[in-house]
Every structure is written in C-alpha cells, then in structure tokens.
C-alpha cells in the first residue's frame, strides 16, 4: 500500500536579500494512513518549513530545491499553483498555531468552516452550512447551531482551536498537518485538543503529522517520532524506542534537559551549551558537533549519514549514545557564601520575610459614555501567603488565574485594593519618595519575554548599571566592577558589555535580565515565567543558573509559571492558583504526591510527561471545559464548574484553606486527603471508643 505521505530527500531553501537559508536539508519522512507521526525540533530547526513545503505555502523567497513529496502516490513537487490549490484544504489540510490570527476576524465561524466545502466540493450554500454544522459537532463545539454566527473573538482560545480543526476537517482530508496545534493553549485545554485529534484520527483514518517542540505532547500521541535539528532529521524511531533507547546525543540531551515532576531538584538539569548553527552558513560536518560533548575531528569534518541497525530506527551520528542519561550530577553551590548571604537577608523585625495578607486586586471594567464602572476583573481575590528568607515559592495556574498580578503586587509596582503586603514588617506600597526608592532595592523582578525586558536602545553595560544609578549605589568605578563581576557570574563574556540586546540569543538575554535583577542584592526576586519564552534546549541552562544564584545570594524568590514541572524544580513550596484564589499551598512533595485539591490533582494528571509509557496509559483528559470568566467567577468554590466532585455545598459555601500538614493547606470541601483537624478528631474519638 502506498503511504499517505511520502517525502524523499526534500530540500527547501529560503532566499533572503543577501543570503540563502538552507531551512530543510535532505529530509525523508513517511506517514501511513491512520498514523500520527511526530516531528520534534527547536525553533529554527526547519520543522514548520517542512510542513509548509508540503502545502506549497512557503514564505517569500522560499522554494523547494530538490527531492519529492508524494501524497497518496501523487507527486506534489513541481505542481502548478492551480493544481496545488485543488489539493490544499481538500486532500491535505493544516492546523496552525495561533488560532486568533489564523481565523478571519470579520467573518462568522460558520461561514469560515463552510468555505472549503463550497470551494472544493462545489456544494450549495445550504449543503455547506449543513456540513459545517456536522464538523463543528464532530470537533466538540458545544451548541454548534447557535454558534454558527459567532465571530472568532467571541470564542475562547480552546474553542477557536476547535474551529480551526473543523475548517481543516471540513473536506475530510487524507493528510492533516498540525503545526504546534496546542502551544498557545493552557495545559488543561491542550489535553482536550490532543485527545480530540487522536479521536478524529481513529474515526476518520487520516495520516497526521504533529509538529511540536514539546516532547511531552508527542510522547502519548504518536507512533513514530522524527527529531529534527538544524534542517536535518537526526533520529527517527518508533515512539517507545526513541524514548527508551535513543542513539543520537541531541535526542538524549533534549530529553534530559526537560524538568519533570518526579525529578530531583537537588540535581542539575542536563543542558545543551551554545546555540543551533546559522543555516545560511551550515557547518561542514555534523550540524550538532559544536554543541555535542562527544564530538571529535571526524564529526567536525564529515556529515554522518542517517543509518542504523534496523530500518525502523535511524540516526545520524558517528558516536551514538545508548539510551537516556542515567544519573544527572548534583548542583554545586558555594555553601559558605550561600549561608553568609542568607544570614544577611534574614528579616529583622517580622517573623516572615514577606507576608501577604488577604490581598485583593480587581481591575475595573468601564463602559458607556460616562465611563462608569460596570464590573471588575477579579484578578487576585483574598490571597494570604508568606515567604521566608532564602525560600523559593512557586505559583502555578492557568493563564488568567491572577499569578502575574500577584507578582506585580508583591514587588510593589501595583497597589492592592485591600489587604496588606509587608516586607520585613513594612508595607512597601504605602511608602513614598526616597523611602520607597530605597525599599525597591529589596524587591526585584525578572520578566517572561527576554526580547521585551531589555531596552533595545541601551548597551548591556548601561542596562546593568541602571539599577545602581537609580539607587545611587557606589562610585562609577565600583559600579563597573560590580557589573563585571555579575556578568561573569551569569556566564557571559566581558565583551557583552558593549553590545546591544538584539545581538544576544534569547537565553543570553535572559541571563542579562537575571544579572540585572540580582544587581541590587534583593531580598525577594519575583520571576514571571522566566523560561517559557525560551527554547527547550536553552531552558535548562537558565533554570540551572537561576537555582544557583538563588542559593548563592540567599535570595527568596517567587517563581510564577504555568509549568508545574519548572516550578517544582525551582521551588521549596508551591502555591496553586485558580481564578484569583489560592486553592492549595504546600511543599513540592505535598503538591505532587499528596494533592488535596481536585484542581491540583487534575493539573498534575493533565501535564504531558515526556514518557510514552505513562502518557499512553492515561485514559482521561483531566479537566473538562474552559476557565470561567474572571468577571463573574462562580459562587462558592470557583472551581466547582469543572470539578468532578462538586455538590450543592460547593456553590453555596466558599471553602476556606484547611491544614493537611504543617506545610500543606488547601481550600476544598471534599478534599482528596484527610484534613489535619478531621484526622485529629478521628484519632480522639478512636481513643474514646
């Protein structure tokens, strides 16, 4: 039987004004009918270009320079635009990453789903609408008939992605290309969409290419995985084999660099040094050689062919490894310096370094001619927590749960509507003038986007000197000494000082941002999604560095992330937020092994684990439905609308945080663990009897 998609020796180049990017080089890839094949790689590895080559939708200057693409036996390379157009959306469909920019904002969704049917099938308007209803129902859009006239902005991200899938499926394609279909979505929605894709493949027998950077996503959903690096396929194997017995050092390092929930936070994450090569001038030998610990002269001179002992498992490496990394080495920290730094930052007046008490922050929503306040976004609702010197607290939750707002409240750039935030007994947001300026030294922040957090018009030396200048610390000479020392500490060369931010890679910029944040020796640093904008192979470098700096400077940190594994790796304690509420707080082990709140439990079960055995054994998709609007959060327990155990009491009465152990508290009427008071009462009655 001919495979649904058969790519042989495909090379795609992109012509820029002065150079040529060799985006895809000599790629072979096969997908059988009804099979899902994963294509994994970092950004810039050419994985999206491969998908676009199949559709003939390459960007300006892009063209296929060699090889063949056969869809169901039909050659696609060299087809005219007209013939390609007939295939696109009919036999081959694509799902894009960003559903907001991929849907037409001026057309109702029903019309957009019906469009390919009318174009390709020549269906009448009524037939096309009927078909649209059918596919929208198939992709699980609730009440499709009422939503046909809805515009894309009226739907949530998850529902929009379902509409995108419906458009792709409208003509029953034989091949579906899904380019990062869930990257922009929250984990709970991601699981639902992936399950939908799985289910549709089984029912419709499509061949699916799942393009992603996330090893967890491909682990549970594919039967084969192709790992792409710098435009080449470097390893291809069945999913189970790739995870259990990979042979390419890149695959090995990529997998080891991902923090996992069960990984030991005292060990370092394996990281891949350096950056992917520039594809306008690819290196002569193995493209991974510059970053590979096993590379020798042969690797640098000669490109390894894609071979292997069995045709099922191919890899391109002269010195293949054997399976995953066994034990990662421990984190090395200067213990004496760390202890001294911690001692210096102990609170003098208060019991805890930072105390957040009943904090509320609501953003008004105004409407009408007089801009009267009609409602408010309940960003942070009655949150109480504390932070000790040198401790790291992680905050996790879906987007819109108020974790970033809480971070801004903690560093004092936003003021709470009520409640108090005290650093060492002083409420920073109530200070004024120079008192406020001096107090700001103790509270620093690190931002998510390494491209946006550094002023593009300032040199690195000015960027790093700015905090010292603002705070008027030291003479010009001392300031220069200090920025040089800190730059070395974050692992950047001295010549970086004279450069502008755009000359650095994302990981390097995040190092600069980290250096700036520690420049003032803050007592508390808030890191808002510190690694989510970075590539997988760079993430672990920054995580290792953050962990070491936190310890050596004795800094207390608040790490905000949607990724529970990242938070657990960096933090001593974890707070879980849902719709502005802190629903559970405890040590990493409390949260991971003994979750009491149903939301935490579902979150842990939903996170895709880069392990096909665990992923494929999962039977349920975790949390159903979407996050309710923070404008009108549900009464009582805010999670009740999505909770499997919700009862009438949950709607009527708001649960309070109850203790489950000294360190562990959760707000649930029907917790998964026994609360401390109940346990005590039980043992007391037990004694009576």
């Amino acid at each position: 039987m001919t495979p649904a998609l058969d790519i042989k020796d495909l090379s795609t180049h992109i012509q820029l004004s002065r150079s040529v990017v060799q985006a895809v080089g000599n790629v072979d890839l096969r997908i059988e009918r009804g099979q899902t094949v994963g294509l994994v790689g970092e950004s810039g590895s050419g994985k999206s270009m491969l998908g676009l080559s199949v559709l003939g939708l390459l960007p300006n200057g892009g063209h296929i320079v060699g090889g063949s693409i056969k869809a169901d036996g039909q050659e696609l390379v060299g087809l005219s635009e007209r013939e390609l157009r007939r295939l696109r959306g009919n036999d081959i469909a694509m799902i894009f990453q960003d559903s907001l920019s991929s849907l037409n904002p001026t057309k109702p969704i029903g019309e957009q789903v019906a469009e390919p049917v009318r174009l390709h099938r020549g269906a009448s308007k009524r037939e096309a609408v009927d078909r649209a209803l059918e596919v929208l129902d198939l992709v699980g859009l609730p009440q499709p008939r009422q939503r046909l006239k809805d515009f894309p902005h009226q739907l949530s991200g998850g529902l929009r992605q379902r509409v995108m899938i419906a458009i792709a499926l409208a003509c029953e394609p034989k091949i579906l290309l899904a380019d990062e279909p869930t990257t922009a979505l929250d984990v709970t929605i991601q699981a639902q969409i992936l399950e939908l894709l799985d289910d549709l493949r089984d029912r419709l027998g499509m061949a699916t290419l799942l393009v992603t950077h996330d090893m967890g996503v491909v682990a549970g959903r594919t039967s084969r995985i192709n790992v792409m690096y710098a435009g080449r396929i470097v390893e291809t194997a069945s999913t189970e084999e790739l995870f259990a017995g990979m042979r390419h050092p890149y695959t090995q390092a990529l997998l080891a660099s991902i923090p996992r929930l069960e990984s030991d936070p005292t060990k370092v994450l394996i990281s891949i040094p350096g950056l992917p090569p520039d594809l306008t001038r690819p290196p002569a030998g193995c493209r991974y050689a510059a970053r590979c610990p096993f590379a020798d002269a042969q690797c640098r001179a000669e490109e390894p062919p894609l071979t292997g002992e069995s045709p099922d498992h191919l890899f391109a490496c002269w010195h293949p490894v054997d399976g995953p990394v066994k034990t990662p080495p421990p984190l090395i920290v200067d213990e004496a310096a760390a202890a001294a730094a911690l001692e210096a930052k102990k609170p003098a007046a208060a019991e805890h370094l930072l105390e957040v008490t009943n904090v509320v922050r609501e953003y008004p929503v105004k409407a009408g001619l007089l801009q009267r306040q009609v409602n408010s976004v309940k960003a942070v609702s009655d949150v109480t927590l504390h932070l000790d010197a040198g401790e790291t607290l992680g905050l996790v939750g879906e987007s819109g749960c108020g974790k970033t707002s809480l971070g801004k409240l903690i560093v004092g750039v936003e003021k709470p509507d009520s409640g108090s935030i005290a650093l060492d007994g002083r409420e920073v947001f109530k200070l004024r003038g120079s008192n406020l300026r001096v107090a700001r030294r103790d509270l620093q922040m690190m931002f998510q986007d390494p491209y946006g957090s550094l002023d593009p018009r300032m040199r690195v030396s000015s960027i790093l000197k700015e905090p010292l200048q603002i705070q008027k610390i030291g003479t010009a000479k001392e300031q220069t000494e200090k920025i040089k020392a800190t730059l070395a500490e974050v692992g950047l060369p001295l010549n970086a000082l004279e450069r502008y931010p755009h000359e650095f890679s994302g990981g390097q910029r995040q190092r600069i941002a980290l250096a700036r944040a520690v420049m003032l020796e803050p007592k508390v640093m808030v890191a808002d999604e510190p690694v989510s904008a970075l590539d997988v192979s760079i993430r672990s470098q920054v995580l290792n560095l953050m962990k070491r700096l936190q310890l050596e400077h004795g800094m207390a940190s608040v790490v905000i992330s949607h990724d529970l594994a990242v938070v657990k790796y960096l933090s001593d304690r974890i707070g879980v937020m849902y719709l502005g509420k802190l629903v559970e707080i405890g040590t990493g082990e409390d949260i991971y092994r003994r979750a009491a709140h149903h939301y935490t439990d579902a979150l842990i079960r939903t996170i895709p684990v880069p392990d096909p055995v665990i992923e494929k054994a999962k039977t349920e998709a975790g949390i159903r439905g979407e996050l309710p609007s923070p404008l009108n959060p549900p009464s009582g327990c805010r999670f009740r609308t999505r909770c499997p155990r919700a009862e009438e009491r949950c709607a009527a009465e708001e649960p309070v945080l109850r203790a489950f152990s000294d360190s562990h508290r959760a707000a649930c009427h029907f917790p998964l663990q026994t609360p401390l008071e109940t346990a005590l009462a039980n043992s007391a009655t037990g004694e009576h009897a």
């Binding site: 080495p329 984190l331 700001r440 692992g491 950047l492 000359e503 990981g507």
Partner: protein, 325 residues
C-alpha cells in the same frame, strides 16, 4: 551621595573577580576552556546599520537626499561661488530676460534671479529646520509626558492638542505674523507653535505601547523616577517616529513659509523667501516674465518633494515591520 548600607553592598562585590566565582555546576564543562557557559556573543549587524542599508536600497529616497544636498549647497555655498548684487536696486536691469551668464534673468529690482533664489533657499532651509527642531522637541516631550501620565492628565493634554489642530492654521498664523517683526527666528517660532501638535500625538501613541513594555516595568521596579523613564527609555525608543516626522515637518514648514510670503506676511526686506518671490512675480505673470515664476516654483516643489521622499524612505527603513529581510 551614598548611604552606608549601599556602600557595604558594593564593597562585598568590588573585589570578587571572575576567577574566584563558584563553579558553574554544569555536568560537562563548556565545549572549550575559557568559554563562558552563556556562550560567546556573535557580532550582529547593528540595527542602525540595517536601517541604513535598507534606506540606501530605496532609490527614490537616495535621490531625495542627493537633491537636498544639491539645494543646500546651492543656497549656502552658491552666493560664495557666484556672488551677485542683491542689495543695490538697479532699475536699468529691471525685469531683464535671461542671458548666457544670468540664466534666469533679473527681477523687478534688477537683482539677479538665481542669486535671489539662493537667498530664498537659505531662509527656507533655516526656517524649515528651526521650526521643525522646535516642534519636534516640544512635541516629543509633550507627547511622552502625556502618554506616560495617562488618565485625566493625558485626556486634558490631548484635548488641548485637538483644539490646536482644529484651529484654522493659516488664518491664525497670518494674525500672529502681523504682530511680530518677521525675522527668521520669529517666523520659525510661529510655525513651530502649530506644527508640534502632530508629533505630540504620534509620540504619545508610541509611548502608550512602550510604557507597558517589560523594560519600562523593569525600570519602575528598580525605583526609577518618571523623568528617567521619559528621557532614558521612552524618548530614545520613540526616536524612529520622531526622526521620520522631522523630515515631514521641515517640508511642511517650508511650504507654510511660502504661503506666508505669498500672502505678504513673510520675512521683511532685505530678507526674502521663495514665497515672497512668487508673490512679486504674480503681477508680471501676464507680461510673460516666465523666469520670475517657474524656476522658483520648481525649487519649492522639488525641495518639498525631496523631503517627503526622504521621510518615506526613513519610515520604511526604521520600521522593523516594513523592513525586507
């Protein structure tokens, strides 16, 4: 002005050099000894150089620059190279037609027309540049402050701009022009009094997006004052907007000066502008004295067009979204 705590903070680090730092904790050392674990920094073409390259590939904009260079040389170096009588009226030469050495003839005062065009060009460039400079400084500051302040302050400041923009520009300038004695500085001031409104609006729009960027938040977290935000972060980052706008402002000011001169409210004698010359020539239009009208008119059109071409080129070159890769 340092406090003791701050000094202690610095001295703890002043002596730490790179060699004494803790090991980096990476499992495998960096690929080569001495390589920092953040990796080397590769030299990338700077943003300004990319912009220059983009600008140079825009043929019309380069022609615009060449035209401007020519006219600036013509106006300022021309009188030195080719001195002509521009102060003593000579009725014998009044309105004489072009000759081989005086290619555009003489005007009604008997002055050489080319020499007069040079003098008119001087005032055009001087007033255009001066008015644009004043307008851009005021407009940028006003827009940046308004955008950063936000809320009611922003509303009031922007409504003032709206009022300014709805005034009948030319009429007010004419009224103002009668009250002053019409030298270069004052005319430039009058023109600037109106032309700062547009850059103020543009810069405010830019600042509205800039102030929510993370690097501005980072500066706030460090305790930066508003003035530091404006001068160190907001204005430098709004620079591409202002640079583009300056060229358009100069073109507009030169045109406005021509209107003023044409209506007789321009510079006072002996200074002259292209507008004055056109107004003078008007009465001889029916006498067929073409050399008094077309050369000056062409100068005006070409210079204004050149400024607009340069402005368009700059906008394409500086706006990353419009830049070709």
């Amino acid at each position: 002005m340092t406090d003791p705590a701050a000094e202690a903070l610095v001295s703890g680090f002043a002596h730490a050099d790179a060699g004494q730092l803790a090991p980096n904790g990476l499992p495998e050392g960096p690929a080569e000894p001495g390589t920092p674990d953040g990796g080397e920094v590769s030299v990338v073409t700077s943003g300004w150089r990319l912009s220059l390259r983009e600008f140079m590939s825009n043929r019309l904009a380069v022609i615009g620059v060449a035209v401007l260079v020519f006219f600036i040389l013509f106006s300022f170096a021309g009188p030195i190279v080719d001195p002509t009588n521009q102060s003593l009226a000579n009725p014998a030469l009044s309105d004489n037609p072009p000759t081989g050495t005086h290619i555009f003839g003489y005007n009604d005062q008997g002055f050489d027309e080319v020499g007069a065009m040079m003098r008119g060009g001087q005032t055009s460039f001087e007033i255009g540049a001066l008015a644009a400079a004043m307008a851009i400084v005021v407009g940028t500051l006003y827009g940046a402050v308004s955008g950063l302040a936000g809320g009611i302050v922003d509303t009031i400041m922007m409504r003032i701009v709206d009022v300014g923009l709805s005034l009948p520009y030319l009429l007010v300038i004419l009224v103002l022009a009668t009250k002053f004695n019409s030298n270069v500085l004052e005319i430039a001031g009058i023109l600037a009094a109106f032309s700062w409104l547009v850059p103020a609006r543009l810069v405010r729009g830019e600042v509205l997006t800039l102030r929510e960027r993370d690097f501005v938040w980072a500066a706030r977290v460090m305790g930066a004052r508003q003035s530091r935000l404006v001068f160190k972060h907001l204005i430098p980052n709004a620079l591409s907007v202002t640079i583009v706008n300056v060229t358009f402002l100069i073109a507009d000011s030169i045109l406005a000066l021509a209107y003023l001169g044409f209506l007789g409210f321009g510079l006072s004698y002996p200074q002259t502008s292209w507008g004055d010359m056109l107004a003078n020539a008007l009465q001889y239009l029916n006498s067929g004295y073409w050399w008094l009208v077309y050369p000056v008119g062409a100068c005006l059109v070409i210079v204004v067009l050149a400024f607009n071409l340069v402005g368009d080129g700059l906008r394409d070159a500086l706006d990353v979204r419009l830049r070709r890769r």
